[in-house]
């Protein structure tokens, strides 16, 4: 029920008295209003901004947070108000929804923030009013596309170790940047496409005269050379096509795709030429077939994103193009007819028939104006000028639509590329921040162990050892410590000072990455499965690159005595020399027996 309609319910009930005299049977009892209380103002404190409204206003929508008893959870006894730790700007829209029954979407608001707020207050976004719904849906769709884009590229970049040969090949074909072999293949095919196209072009250039005969095109003069080139290109293309045929997950779909058809059309003429004998009858058809060789140039669309975008634009503007074509045809027929009848009277007129006038009309409408057909009568000239004016108009109308479509798609692509490029840097920064938290644990461990060491040895050390951690940090570290104790997997602290105290460490603990590497190296476990390496940050890069990096490191960096409390990024850590020889013994300790 809409907002204010709830206010009219008393009226509707009162008006029901009009049915009473007509009714034949007794009426049911009215529900008793148990919690009849006077309408009161309630204060909603949203992050400091106070909103006030009547209780009944909120109760109009009992299935939302504010309309139900759920808001009691947010009631603050001391200040007698409802406190919400949320965005006051969006709350304004939410409260207006209760007041007016219409939910609006403010344009300046971020779509996901708005969605979150709506979800919090238990309001379905579907009830956004018509005035704002389109905008909301557009923004939401844009956002979803962006997220999907990101996810897609993320999935593509994740190294999936268990790809079959066929799948790797398919990925190499689709995205040449995945491996150097794919890149080489990409450039080689590109080169051969160019060679083939240039060959076709040069073949027809007149190449000087052979004594005793007329000027020949190069193709006939050096026919053997050109034939060899052609053969080479076609061989490459055939091999490429067969490889592409082998790789895709869905061959049927691949065969039906445009690119594969172009591939086939590009190499077919050669094979047909091989098969056909040098017969006079079919050589004419054979020459025609050679025209199809020019389609090889379309193979370049795999190499150029711009071409692909153009093709996609034309496809998406099919309706505009259709309209253009249709209107042009209409205009051509009309003007051709008019011109024919106008020029019928003049002598030696080139406008011999209406189809003959088509040529004139097309040339005029597109403002080409070859001049091979010109109207001679006055009427003809008048209609000719009208024809050229209208031609400009008709063509100019759908073109901006196509242009704007192209621009939109092109920019979208640019944005996607830019985002993908930035994503790497972003993820790297995020990784640094995440490992910072794991390092915090290591540092607290060091501090803890050092404190232990202090207690045991009794020697006063620097104050910086006693770094105070916040309550949350210490609770978090305690949690991680509990996990250590439970699982027996461990991080090891790489502090030089602690190497002395290794004997105090009874159980497996969290192992630092380079310690792990060190252990890998020293225990010469060549095929250490990457999954066993524990890490706080769940980033796959940490586990998968561990041992691969190990294999690359051949030299030890010079000994660097670093204080325990200096925060290090993962990149830094990887360059720090691994200390001592006592550490390996830690990993060989037997796992602790967890007593319940």
């Amino acid at each position: 029920m809409a907002a204010g309609v709830a206010a009219w319910l008393p009226f509707a009930r009162a008006a029901a008295i009009g049915w009473m005299p007509v009714a034949n049977c007794p009426m049911p009892l009215a529900p008793a209003d148990k919690n009849k209380r006077q309408d009161e103002l309630i204060i909603l404190n949203v992050s400091g901004r106070r909103f006030q409204t009547w209780r009944t206003t909120l109760e109009r929508y009992p299935d939302t947070l504010l309309g139900s008893t759920e808001k009691e959870f947010f009631f603050n006894e001391d200040t007698k108000e409802y406190f919400f730790d949320r965005d006051p700007e969006v709350f304004r829209c939410v409260l207006n929804f209760y007041r007016t029954g219409k939910l609006h979407y403010p344009r300046y608001e971020c779509i996901s923030a708005y969605d979150d707020e709506l979800a919090f207050y238990g309001i379905l976004p579907e009830i956004i009013g018509d005035c704002c719904y389109e905008e909301y849906k557009d923004r939401k769709r844009e956002n979803a596309e962006r997220l999907m884009d990101d996810n897609d590229s993320e999935n593509n970049q994740e190294s999936m170790p268990s790809l079959s040969f066929r799948q790797t090949m398919w990925r190499a074909f689709e995205n040449p940047h995945t491996s150097t072999l794919a890149l080489v293949f990409y450039y080689v095919t590109g080169f051969f496409i160019a060679v083939s196209v240039i060959t076709n072009v040069v073949e027809t250039v007149p190449c000087g005269t052979v004594p005793g005969s007329k000027e020949l095109p190069c193709g006939e003069r050096y026919s053997v050379a050109f034939f060899c080139l052609d053969t080479a290109c076609v061989m490459i293309f055939t091999v490429e096509y067969l490889l592409r045929l082998f790789a895709p997950p869905s061959r049927y779909r691949f065969i039906r795709s445009v690119m594969s058809i172009i591939d086939v059309v590009a190499i077919m003429p050669y094979y047909i030429g091989l098969v056909m004998t040098d017969n006079e009858d079919v050589s004419g058809a054979f020459v025609t077939l050679r025209v199809f060789r020019v389609f090889r140039i379309f193979k370049f669309s795999r190499h150029s994103q711009g071409l692909r975008i153009l093709g996609y634009t034309l496809k998406s503007c099919a309706s505009e193009l259709g309209f253009l074509l249709f209107s042009l045809t209409m205009a051509i027929i009309i003007f051709a007819t008019v011109m024919f009848y106008a020029e019928k009277g003049s002598s030696a007129s080139k406008f011999t028939s209406i189809p003959a006038s088509f040529w004139y009309t097309i040339v005029t409408m597109t403002t080409l104006g070859y001049g091979d057909m010109v109207p001679k009568t006055i009427a003809g000239k008048i209609f000719g000028s009208i024809c050229s004016l209208s031609g400009v108009l008709v063509i100019a109308l759908p073109v901006p639509v196509i242009v704007s479509n192209f621009s939109r798609i092109y920019h979208q692509n640019q944005r996607a590329d830019k985002r993908r490029a930035q994503k790497k840097a972003r993820l790297a920064r995020i990784r640094v921040a995440k490992t910072g938290s794991s390092n915090a644990y290591l540092h607290s461990k060091r501090n803890g162990l050092l404190n232990e060491a202090l207690e045991l040895t009794g020697t006063p050390e620097d104050e910086h050892m006693g770094k105070t951690t916040s309550l949350i940090e210490s609770q978090h570290h305690h949690l991680l410590h509990c996990l250590e104790k439970t699982t027996g997997l461990s991080y090891l602290v790489d502090d030089p000072l602690l190497s002395v105290r290794t004997s105090t460490i009874k159980n497996h603990e969290f192992i630092d990455e380079q310690m792990f590497e060190q252990n890998c190296m020293e225990s010469s476990m060549q095929n250490y499965p990457s999954t066993r390496s524990p890490s706080l940050s769940s980033h796959p890069g940490l586990t998968t690159t561990c041992c691969s990096r190990r294999s690359k490191k051949t030299t030890h960096l010079p000994n660097s005595n670093l204080p325990a409390t200096r925060l290090r990024s993962m990149q830094e850590l990887s360059t720090i020399h691994i200390q001592g020889s006592e550490q390996p013994s830690l990993t060989t300790r037997p796992p602790p027996t967890t007593s319940k």
Binding site: A3, A14, I17, G18, V22, M27
Partner: protein, 213 residues
């Protein structure tokens, strides 16, 4: 829309003129109710009740008056399955005591005051007024049939048992048998009040909506 400058519309069509006038009318129709104290004296509601009622009223109708369209819309929201436009039309006429085509807040309050705080006599009077469509003091069978059909329409098509064609007519017959004492085919106000006062059910149901506000 004028595409060619020479085709200026010298005589604007009457439809356009009317809509312009309508717009002006809609913009200028604003009604402010009487002062709160006056309304309190006129009706049987307390100040607080009037405040609550007015807030609801003004929320739905910011211009201060309800026209028949809005009235029908509001009423149909309560009866989504059926068609309540006819009954809402009769109800509108019952509320619009001065017959100016709009129900102002005063009309609204007067009506509600009778229905919720009035004596049984007043309520029955009001009901009679509702049934008497042409306000001539007599309820004829045709008028009653219209009312009955309107009430049954509000139920909609999906009822159990399925609505029979002559059910309204039957109902009207029953009503007239009960109410029409002198069997002259019309029901006057006195017959109506007398018959209702004799009927236990009706009397009881009149008190049903006492505590609506």
């Amino acid at each position: 829309m004028k595409l060619l400058p020479c085709s200026a519309a010298k005589t604007s069509s009457p439809a356009i003129q009317n809509s312009v006038e309508d717009e002006l009318e809609m913009a200028t129709v604003r009604h402010r109710p009487e002062a709160l104290e006056l309304l309190e004296a006129q009706s049987k509601f307390t100040k607080k009740e009037l405040q609550i009622l007015y807030r609801g009223f003004k929320n739905e109708c910011p211009s201060g008056v309800v026209n028949e369209e809005t009235f029908k819309e509001i009423y149909s929201q309560f009866f989504p399955q059926g068609d309540s436009t006819t009954y809402a039309h009769f109800l509108f006429n019952a509320f619009d005591t001065d017959h100016n085509g709009a129900v102002s807040f005063e009309d609204f309050i007067n009506g509600l005051s009778i229905l919720l705080r009035g004596t049984v006599q007043e309520k029955l009077n009001w009901a009679f007024n509702l049934y008497d469509i042409n306000k001539d003091g007599y309820i004829t069978k045709e008028e009653m049939l219209d009312i009955m059909k309107a009430i049954y329409d509000m139920m909609g098509k999906c009822t159990y048992p399925v609505l029979k064609e002559d059910a309204p007519r039957q109902h009207v017959e029953t009503f007239f048998q009960k109410m029409d004492k002198n069997k002259d085919g019309v029901v006057t106000i006195d017959e109506f009040i007398e018959s209702c006062q004799k009927d236990e059910n009706i009397m009881r149901s009149m008190q049903l909506f006492e505590n609506v506000i």
